[in-house]
Amino acid sequence: MNKKLGIMEIEPLVRDRYIQDEFEIIGKRGLTRMCGIEKASGRAEYTRDVKLPGMVYCRILPSPYAHAKIKSMNTEKAEALPGVRAVLRYDDPELADKPLYGLETKFNAGHLASDGQAFYHGKEELAVTLEQWKQGAGRILDGVAWWEGHPVGAAVAADTPELAEEALGLIEIEWEELPLVLNPMDALKPGAPLAAPEINSKNNIIRKLKIEHGDVEKGFKEADKVIKFDARRRPYTVAEAEPISDVILWRGDNVEIWAHQQQAYDGKMLFALKMGLPLNKIKLHIPYQGSQFGGGGNPMMHHTHGVHIISGILSRRLGRPVKTFYDRRDTFYNLSQDADCYTSFRVGFKEDGTITAVKIDNICAKMGQYGIDHFEENTRIPNLALNYLEANINVAPAYWFRCEQNHNALCLSLVFEHVAAELGMDPTIVALKNDGVEGKDMEYLSKFKKEHGFPDRDSLGECIEVGKKAIDWDNKWHKPGTKVLPNGKLHGMGFTWTHEWDDTRGTACAGVLMHCDGTVDILSQKSDDGLNAMTTHCQIVAEEMGLKLADVNFRMFEDVGFQMMTPDGSCNLAVDAYVTRNAAREAKQKLLEYATTPIKLIDIEYPPVFPNNYPDDLDVKDSVVFLKSDPSINCPVAEVVKRATLNQGGTRAPLFTWSWHRQGRYGTERGRHRMCRQAYFAEVEVDPGTGGVEVKKIVNVNDVGLAISPETCEGQQYGGDYMGVGRALAEEVIYDPKTGVKLNGNLLDYKVWTMRDIDTTVNHLVETGMGYGAYGLNGIGECIATVVPGVIGAAIYNAIGEWVDDHPMTPDKVLKAISKAKRGGLR
């Protein structure tokens, strides 16, 4: 073991150099999920459940108009309602210097590199500016509404939720309705209404940029064939399980926050900034989180963070805890919907499947995703061009919802599927033909792997082989539109692929504290979003320290000064796992020093458990310290640490270590090549009479580098399938085209996939060890739901012989495509 554990080097381009040969607990199946008993028995507490003595309930007024200004507002009747304790108006002096954009902390850290989105492939000129963030995000509790349902005007705190709701209805407002625009294409037309003239009085453009690699025109000339096609991806939304709420209690000059937030520490930072408080006066509690999926992060923080400011001001006024809560409809309005995107493709390729050039023109509503990233990161295509434009419109903010790669993954899927279809080739062959990195081929990537300490494995080849076998691809895949089943349905097989998620930008820190009974607490705060971080990190610490898993616990709910990235068991694990791993190794070293070092108290010297040995003579297994040369000489960890930490006056000092890690500026810097791949296969049946699509089977094969908790990774696979198929076939936020009123802001009209909506999911993990995270791991949580729409689209094409490149692929669109296929001579 390296004696200088505290300075274990972490090199951003190099594989973890400190991986042991064998694992006892990491990767082990059959472990009970540590949060499972609480969650299954209803004992897990969520922010929505928090109720404090004297608590009042706050509701914020939702705008009835998609674009309107408050001309005058009378809150007297609301204030006079018995039980109403406070009304906070948008024009109150307490809010005068607090436009609640919610994301300024990202621009308050010294340099832009602190923000994951600030740099794209290391290019400063592509950094998102604060003005752009503001325009895409919106504000909370202002005098102007930028979308229907926008929380504006006033917030009311009352003794009960019902009274707060009733008081909102008593607020009299004279509105000035303003012209609105609801579609990004309309928003770009000359003379279009301005969606947010308070920030951009010239036009509706949020961002406009170009990215170019090589020479696409040259690539098109080299091609045997050039195709063009268009696609649209309509907005879908988080529809998270737990409706938004927070609780804030102002205690004298200290404040406590109970937050439903994915990046809760950022919320604390903004609260401190806006309220003029030092961070050490604010104590943050993050109970269990009823799902997040990133939808409450980034620009959406104007809600999750802005709500804190409102609760905070009201709590300070009243001297009582304030719970601000959104109902189901509010939650639908005010969490991220993924951007409405119109994308045009031009693709050149050779007869053998080699793609020579891809040009993408992408227009997104609000803030979207470029669409070109995955071509850069995991293909050898040398000539790429992107024209990207974000247009502001009067709908709720759009941004990343599981995850920032949605459009990037779909664009890659569409291009590869269309090329394979044009050539009549097996799409797995086209994928393998173009696999590479940043325009370079696999030979280059192979050399890179060897030079940087990674195993040199063909990740895509392995994933495809496993997946083909699992779905019986070689026997079932067929030419498009050629297989009708005995039940009259059209049979389709689809394939798509991309690279792993290595969301490794960021920082994490954690402590490892061993109590005098030998049990360990991991000290760090993070949101539990369902990624099983609790078990995962306990596995790491137990593995590294030689402890029984039962002797390690991780209660991440309280503010302890350390934070980890969230989510976890997911991509952020590539960062987070380093800190628990390193702190645990250091703690073990300290434990063995305790076991061999006497304690001197002036005139008395207490001998250690192993008085005649050095730390290197010892090891730990199953929570027992033993002599390596003679394991029969041993002592329980509890006894070692109890002796060393001496009870004096009823107190003891724990064994304690901590670690922090900052990795990369952004997970996709150029030159930090992606090496792991994932392959997806789907089998569908399309009803030619209704256009309905039944998903019979999905096969996910993900190279996760290394799976610490295999069941957790598999949970992300099948869980992502349900969300991904929902996105492919049904999920869409629908607005009234004239008024901008959201028409399906509830779980009856917004279809979320349920148990019977997929027949079978088959999940395979490939572990090549080619991730940048600790132990060679990378992430999985964001991958599946992001990529699955592409494979469903491919399978539908294979079934009907015509593309439905308008997601979601609802039955009406599928029927139209079937009609088109028939006109084209199929069937």
């Binding site: 059959g30 009970t32 999920r33 949060c35 499972g36 008993i37 609480e38 969650k39 299954a40 028995s41 209803g42 004992r43 507490e45 929505r48 459940d49 109720k51 309602l81 018995p82 039980g83 009960t160 939720p161 019902e162 009274l163 009733e166 998270e240 399980a241 737990e242 409706p243 269990y288 989180q289 009823g290 799902s291 997040q292 999926f293 109902d327 189901r328 539990d528 979003d529 369902g530 990624l531 099983n532 069941e711 957790t712 598999e714 949970g715 099948y718 869980g719 992502g720 399938d721 349900y722 969300m723 509830n746 779980l747 009856l748 979320v752 996939w753 349920t754 148990m755 019977r756 999911t761």
Partner: protein
């Protein structure tokens, strides 16, 4: 609506084998009473429209949606909330934890109560029985396949205990 509208009424309920007498307003749902007034917070608010099953409780032996049930209409009812599975050490709890049949866990109590109602009337369900029982529950994390294994495991434990 204000609370003092004159329609409040005392109802007697038996919840998790405990007797309760509580004055309820006519518009209060059973979910509000259980979660907000009695502090049995395992019964979750998710859709609030009878669409998701997260607020499922067992009333007189049948799983019902407590967000769609007025408390004032529940006089004399015998109710079980998810807390009963903890109190009674029902094998569903460990089976759910062992099978990772939850992610964020917010909807899990609703699934567990639906599953308990199934096992109460059919201690040895097949996979199709489980799908029939749970198809009305929404899990945004998509944990659906794991529930089948969990309920089958719990069923085995229940059968073994007899």
């Amino acid at each position: 609506m204000a609370e003092n509208n004159g329609g409040a009424k005392k109802v007697s309920l038996k919840i998790n084998n405990q007797e309760y007498g509580i004055v309820v307003e006519p518009h209060w749902t059973l979910r509000e009473v259980i979660h907000d007034k009695l502090g049995l917070t395992g019964t979750k608010e998710m859709c609030d429209h009878g669409a998701c099953g997260s607020c499922t409780v067992i009333m007189n032996g049948r799983p019902i949606l407590s967000c769609m049930t007025l408390a004032i209409e529940c006089e004399g009812k015998v109710i079980e909330t998810v807390e009963i599975v903890d109190i009674e050490k029902h094998p569903l709890v460990m089976a759910y934890a062992n099978n990772h049949a939850m992610q964020c866990g917010y909807c899990t109590p609703g699934f567990v109560m639906t599953a308990k109602a199934l096992l109460d009337r059919n201690p040895n369900p097949g996979e199709e029985d489980i799908k029939d029982a749970l198809e009305g529950n929404i899990c945004r994390c998509g944990t659906y396949p794991a529930h089948i294994g969990a309920i089958l495991e719990a069923s085995t434990k229940l059968e073994g205990g007899k």
